[in-house]
Subunit: 696 residues, 2 copies
Amino acid sequence: MSSPYSRPLRGNVLLPACILLLFRLDQFRAEDGMEELATEKEAEESHRQDSVNLLTFILLLTLTILTIWLFKHRRVRFLHETGLAMIYGLLVGVILRYGIPSTSYHNKTPPSCSLKERPVPTLLLNVGNKFFEYTLKGEINSREIHNVEQNDMLRKVTFDPEVFFNILLPPIIFHAGYSLKKRHFFRNLGSILAYAFFGTAVSCFVIGNLMYGVVKLMQVAGQLMDKFYYTDCLFFGAIISATDPVTVLAIFNELHADVDLYALLFGESVLNDAVAIVLSSSIVAYQPTGENSHSFDAAAFFKSVGVFLGIFSGSFAMGAVTGVVTALVTKFTKLHCFPLLETALFFLMSWSTFLLAEACGFTGVVAVLFCGITQAHYTYNNLSSESTNRTKQLFEVLHFLAENFIFSYMGLALFTFQNHIFSPIFIVGAFLAIFIGRACNIYPLSFLLNLGRRHKIGWNFQHMMMFAGLRGAMAFALAIRDTATYARQMMFTTTLLIVFFTVWVFGGGTTPMLSWLHIRVGDHTLSREEEASRQWQYLRVGVDPDLDPQPTSDSFQVLQGDGLQSNGGSKTKQESAWLFRLWYSFDHNYLKPILTHSGPPLTSTLPGCCGPLARCLTSPQAYENQEQLRDADSDLILNDSDLTLTYGDTAITANGACGRRKKSNSEEALERELEAVDHEVISRGTRLVFPIEDHA
Amino acid sequence: MSSPYSRPLRGNVLLPACILLLFRLDQFRAEDGMEELATEKEAEESHRQDSVNLLTFILLLTLTILTIWLFKHRRVRFLHETGLAMIYGLLVGVILRYGIPSTSYHNKTPPSCSLKERPVPTLLLNVGNKFFEYTLKGEINSREIHNVEQNDMLRKVTFDPEVFFNILLPPIIFHAGYSLKKRHFFRNLGSILAYAFFGTAVSCFVIGNLMYGVVKLMQVAGQLMDKFYYTDCLFFGAIISATDPVTVLAIFNELHADVDLYALLFGESVLNDAVAIVLSSSIVAYQPTGENSHSFDAAAFFKSVGVFLGIFSGSFAMGAVTGVVTALVTKFTKLHCFPLLETALFFLMSWSTFLLAEACGFTGVVAVLFCGITQAHYTYNNLSSESTNRTKQLFEVLHFLAENFIFSYMGLALFTFQNHIFSPIFIVGAFLAIFIGRACNIYPLSFLLNLGRRHKIGWNFQHMMMFAGLRGAMAFALAIRDTATYARQMMFTTTLLIVFFTVWVFGGGTTPMLSWLHIRVGDHTLSREEEASRQWQYLRVGVDPDLDPQPTSDSFQVLQGDGLQSNGGSKTKQESAWLFRLWYSFDHNYLKPILTHSGPPLTSTLPGCCGPLARCLTSPQAYENQEQLRDADSDLILNDSDLTLTYGDTAITANGACGRRKKSNSEEALERELEAVDHEVISRGTRLVFPIEDHA
């Protein structure tokens, strides 16, 4: 059915748009005839068209930005920028589709030639003893042969789907990983992993099976025109299981909604993207052998599971390793004296993760996600204050542009994509299936998790999570990646409609839903002073308020926190599994000291026999931290606003220092540290970990 | 000779490298035979190869960054990062060329088919009733047919030359324009324009004619294998006239060398890039009609001049217009409350200049340059302090990466480019010609300029400018753009060697040359306190120290400057032409108030009849500035470090306010303003223009 080159034919706009003509003029030589002049003009025309197309998108984004400013200015919350981008995309799509007279389409079949061999990547064309090189673009259906050149303009605005996967998604996903360094993320890590892994798998299989029923129904009703296998249904389940509640999270941010709920939703949506990608590729890898090619085959099933585990762990390892390497490089060089070099290195290393994973046959996007998390957890602490800002801002801008581009493209695609298959039964079935799938993910899992959790996930939280099952960029990118077969085209159309509906309706309904479910609004863990000082920050778009509170409020909180330290100690014990606590103690005692300037000196955590190695790996700052804290905690902390000229980021762990002061590396101290992670605050040159009263 | 598709054949790595395979697995369907599996594997292999190639470049850049850190750390100045990037590129090139066993090259001729018609952009291939689409890549020489697939790997690491022009150059050029907002740039604008326009034209024609002599000599000596026209020589003159003294400027920055000399060199190098591009395309446009196709033809000559003026003014207009539109948008919306939106808008608008210019048939790179200058002059003042930082840092990183990428690619290209033509006579001739050309640019022009200048350009400055005639990224990008003919290939090889030589030898010799020429080192206009506070900033790479001095030192300088105000008044009168002063008064009285929040309110500069319009266009801040200054200049200035929460950037022109205080808009006041531009300092939310003693 599908062959290696069965991708839909699309004009690849991005690069050709860049490959524009300046020196075309030199090609009007006297010895060349009129025909080349014509080809020349055609080529020039096509390049101009590319520029115009990209310009269209840029103007769309500009319009979106200006409108969203107006909305934010007037505090309109029912429509998020992504929803707006889709609307503008739709409008432009309608104009392109219906507003341009049909005379501009030239309907002709390009010349063809025959070859006995298999298709080759490079073909030579001999025209009057001049040779021209042609490269393979893809296979096309025989029904499309006659309109390859038809609707040229519509095809032009249609991007190569790989652009989404390889240019637009990586910055989005990296940014998500890089901003995962949240106080509440690690607290809820167990639940987040459960939702992301088991939940997504459950959702995928529920949706897949329901859709198989729908497909059978369509077959009975005579609505199915072509093959639609069970694996296709599962594939649809996988791509549509990637949630993207960007709209909901933006409103949470703005209204300072409950931080635990925020962490659960954000963490789940970030990780389930990775799960959905790997899941869909392992479903595709499920290929029973022999004639009976679409029935169950245990060998193929286990192969699929193996592919899932292989790709996932491989990509995870790639991401983690490059993150660790970057952390080591930034720790052991004094690169932080040159923030530009540091930022460039950071950017290059993060990009190399993607390429490395792809070169090794793993999934670049997933590797980039874990690289982002590692960078945030370790490297971030080694960067100079300028670089921390610069990297955050750089990726924030890239993320913002890429995300809005994808959403406005989605709007456009509804009208410009040539092979939509609108099947009412399939669409209605899919809408039902995703709600049932989401419900089967959230409610049973929450029940199970609540058995082990101290802070139960309440009914209102569960309903909100159910409600926040929006679909977005990842589902779209996965769906558009392969639209060669009938089944895939139907899936693509349905996915588009689901994204539109969920973003507009659920996104718009977030504020009423929050109040209807009595979910706390206004960040209750913040003091009033802090809230006032942070006010300006919440005005920013897409910035996680947890990430960098105002430096002015730190010292206040630290002092306060120091007094309340005894409160938070033992609460987490029941909550976190021993495995998790083991990881934390390992991370705090060994990884952080090795990879960053923070944590206790290795000389105090490693056994005596490793003395020389420990001294070699421990950064001077680690001793300093200890010394300084021992001497005068609060003085240092109060004066930390003058620390801008210190070397790099010094991380001072108030709690950890306590542990060391008592010379106990006991589990108890680590418990506190674990609890304290919630209240981690990063100030300009100093990282302060302080326990504040637990939000009960 | 050359046809529309006679570009050299190169693997376009950038996009394919991204177009990597994830869902390839789904294509191993049972019904497809072994042959597609083979094609499939080939494609996958090729994509992995692309990833590996890009990874190579990233590792190269990473290595460069680490080494350059070491150099900066140890204050090694004889080798700049660009020189280092070239060395690493050379090493990798050698390894790729000679280190990989020749068995990995598969030497086969791809299948070909014939067609009677002219070459078409899209070709269909019929293989057993399956249709495949092919796209035209370019014409290839008949001698190359048999090794299209040979040295596949070497061809792979060779980028599409348009990538340089359309992806890598724009951020470099935009950054140059955006950092042109220097105090000393405008003071020397006349001289800079003279060097950039007349100087480059002179250099181009001198080099072109000398090279024509060399070519004739080669013809006599029997060293010329193919045609080499006079226009080719002029073209070579144009591409090699673009100077790029990045190495020299970096050292100037580090040593705080004379600021006027810095401004002259930097300004010249930025603008002559634009001149060289447009000049080369107008030389290419010089096509005498009729049979006598390479002799002089007045009509064709004037057509060329027309093309030059047309492209230049068109690109200039495009750049200026988008800059102005951005300024207006940022002024009249309160977008500065949302720095992310603001930055995104700024980025999109700047990019749209490029596309707009290309879509209209002008030169995107030139448009981007003028857009950058306009953005720096107007929009920059309207941005929030966060956005000013963010935009600067964003473009700084892009510039850094793009520049080092180009230089390391240059090193690589010396060994991996397949069609080098090393002609000793041509190379020696070219080296002589560029020195003579540079001399004919600098010395006569300096003589003429000195007739009109108050601050003469001394002999040592002239020698230094002569010495700083390095060639870099622009010459390379112009040379690699078209390497289809024998002449162009020879030019490309020669350009590469000239870049290597000038960057290493002249770049490395800058420090000795400075002391040998007795050029002042250590910025003499800075107070000691300021210098100390700026110290950290000079450590940064590629950052213009003039651009943003430490806020702490502003208030000090302003107060000092206020006292010395009377000194600088009338000096500039003789120096600047009336046209220039007219522009300044126009800019200060009308453009700045309309486009930014700075300058005097329009109500005071426009005639009374325009009252309503003036009130509408003047931002509230303009009145405030006036009020505040009238009330208490120094108080406000001393407290300006607390102004971070004000709306946008308020620009306070100490001198301008003086003029208004006396209610005189006379030329005299503008003279002072003009003089004061030299001492413009931008602090966090406030722009202060103050006169300080003139550095004599």
